[in-house]
Subunit: 402 residues, 2 copies
């Protein structure tokens, strides 16, 4: 999406937009001739909405390329995922609510197990419980002292935490220490370019690992840390800047909260489960004009290869559609950040079904599913354009040119 064009044409109005992201929505038939997860699910409400909507297949990132959640969501928010690359560390820091500043360097921490020969024997430290993880994070925060940099460590979940390095002149062009396999030694952090900032940052990160190893020496199985996904805060224009939208996010996982915060969205305290998230939407309906609502379990079911469970989560979403429509949003998009076909047990590059609803649509079918979407009036198009369509359908864009 050309965000300068959006900035130029967008106007503040009372109309309200909902972007419902059913994570990993896109699927595949298990066998030729079969149905996808979405096609197999019984979705009377989504089907009825499809009969009044524009349909299409949205394509994340590039042909054949399976996106992670970061680029998948940046695209949905209208940011070019190839231009704005966000390190996993940054996403985690934002997700735990850390107030990341522009000059901060973030990295993801896994607590892990080193054996006597200095090799990794468990990359997740025996999946220590969250209480233990919190305890170890406190221990590190108390004892770590590295010259020339402040380090903030925040616990995420179980064996996962985030480190934020605060100093002037840092860089995120650093390699991971995680060798990705057990039986190998942890790698040193290596600078990925030759700038003084990057060399300095690599030194600090290696000093951090060395000190952490000393502090954790007696904490087997969590006697070391692996660092991954180094990165700085990317300079994304916010939703307010790009679209003049006062945007709010409802998501249950840290990563998606982090992505929403990158776009300048306000995080709403979400209710439990899918129904709880829609309840949160309802409660906050009058306070914002854009809502990003993220549903996670479809993706998890797809990753587990559980076709039936994924279809059943989609049915759970379908049950919430009447309540969503009762709010009378001016424009709605329902899609995923990527496909996660149960058949592949992973994210994939396939087109993701999308439905865009407003009073101004060209419906082509009365079913929401991959195949009906392939023949829809939106065609097969880059996910980055979805925000443009939503802004148009909500009548929030001025005409371009005389």
């Amino acid at each position: 999406m050309d965000l300068n064009l959006m900035r130029e044409l967008s106007v503040k109005t009372d109309s309200k937009i909902v972007l419902l992201v059913v994570d990993g929505l896109g699927g595949l038939p298990l066998e030729p001739g079969g149905r996808t997860e979405l096609e197999e699910a019984s979705t009377p409400n989504l089907d009825a909405l499809a009969a009044r909507s524009d349909l299409g297949l949205s394509r994340p990132v590039a042909a054949g390329v399976s996106p992670g959640s970061g680029p998948g969501h940046l695209g949905l928010f209208g940011y070019d995922p190839l231009r704005f690359q966000v390190g996993r560390g940054v996403l985690s820091a934002l997700g735990v609510g850390f107030d990341l500043q522009n000059s901060d360097l973030a990295a993801r921490i896994n607590f892990a197990t080193l054996d006597d020969s200095g090799k990794i024997s468990d990359r997740r430290a025996g999946r220590i419980p969250s209480e233990k993880g919190e305890e170890l994070v406190a221990l590190l925060n108390e004892n770590l002292k590295i010259d020339g940099v402040e380090v903030f460590i925040t616990h995420e979940k179980e064996y996962r935490a985030v480190a934020v390095f605060r100093a002037e002149g840092l860089s995120g062009e650093l390699s991971d220490t995680d060798p990705q396999r057990v039986g190998l030694e942890p790698l040193p952090v290596k600078p990925q370019d030759d700038s003084p900032e990057t060399r300095k940052s690599a030194q600090l990160a290696n000093a951090f690992v060395e000190e952490a190893n000393e502090i954790l020496a007696d904490q087997h199985p969590a006697n070391t840390v692996l660092l991954r996904g180094f990165g700085m805060h990317p300079a994304l224009p916010s939703f307010e800047e790009a679209y003049k939208l006062d945007a709010a996010a409802i998501a249950s996982y840290p990563m998606y909260k982090g992505l929403a915060r990158l776009a300048g969205m306000q995080l709403l305290q979400e209710g439990a489960g899918i129904a709880g998230e829609f309840e949160t939407l309802k409660e906050n309906w009058h306070a914002h004009d854009f809502f990003f609502l993220h549903v996670k379990p479809t993706d998890a079911a797809g990753e587990d290869g559980d076709f039936a469970r994924k279809a059943s989560v989609i049915e759970e979403v379908d049950a919430q559609i009447p309540g969503l429509l009762d709010l009378a949003p001016d424009a709605i998009a329902i899609t995923g950040d990527h496909a996660t076909p149960a058949k592949m047990k992973s994210h994939s590059w396939h087109g993701v079904p999308i439905l865009v609803n407003s009073p101004y649509t060209l419906p082509t079918t009365d079913r929401f599913g991959e195949r009906p979407c392939a023949g829809g009036s939106l065609g097969v198009f880059p996910a980055e354009e979805i925000m443009g369509y939503l802004m148009g359908h909500a009548l929030k864009l001025n005409r371009f040119g005389a």
Copy 2:
């Protein structure tokens, strides 16, 4: 469209192309489940042609963005409408047949009414008749003298005229004087950048308004001028340069004549009404190898919210198709510059049905309409690519690469 590629591959041949632009052709159903204007119209000739054509939906400018006529047509002619932005003043100057030079600065004039306190009380001077407008233009041309610049004023219609400033070193980066609402004072022309050219041009434009006010002082209700849409002639490669086409235009409104002249097309003196325009095509058939034929009343009916009238204009176009086919064009495209759904009473961002006919097509249906086009063999694609398809279908492009 990559015009350098077109320039490299295009060859001069005897084959002939017709680009029939039915302005604002795209539409929407008034109610879910209903038909669009084009689908509702009885179009036996277009349907029969669709059965022998490639179909698709062409998308102007960007997702969700409703284009003005300028960017809409630049896209149809293969120019990137985001790169080549043309001020309304330039379009008007070209439309009235003014021989605009590359260093000229053009702006649109509205005659308007100033009240005793210096505020605008009518932005259209009581919609003075064209004869009065002509008289006032003559008065201005006789009496205006501004040091360092020649000014040419040409009457357009009723309260509308065009001013062209001719001097070296001008710039079009100027703001309008029209405050867009009555009850406000006219705005001064402000430079939009800090270059000497722009500051000089702002001074000249403000001097123009001051002198015009003196000359028009006794001409209530047309006792002032508002200036809008400043701009210089954009450096578009002509159809001859880009495509090696000797192009001619048949259009009844100044704006579309202006757009055609920007592309270097020769303006043909058009007959009256839609039938008259097709008659002009027939009379000039042997003199050119590309014809742009512009039909306006569909857009006007859409803007008026008159679904039935828009459908009826489409039927009028349909009646001309047999005569068009009798000329045996080698390639034909029939589309619009944008959608103007009667439901919205305005231009919109929706896909515009397009039919491309030649002996080399992949037909998918026997109906011309938005929904049949959504499933066509051209897909949903940028309007800028239409000229490429026309050149291909007319066998006017060499193979690219060995």
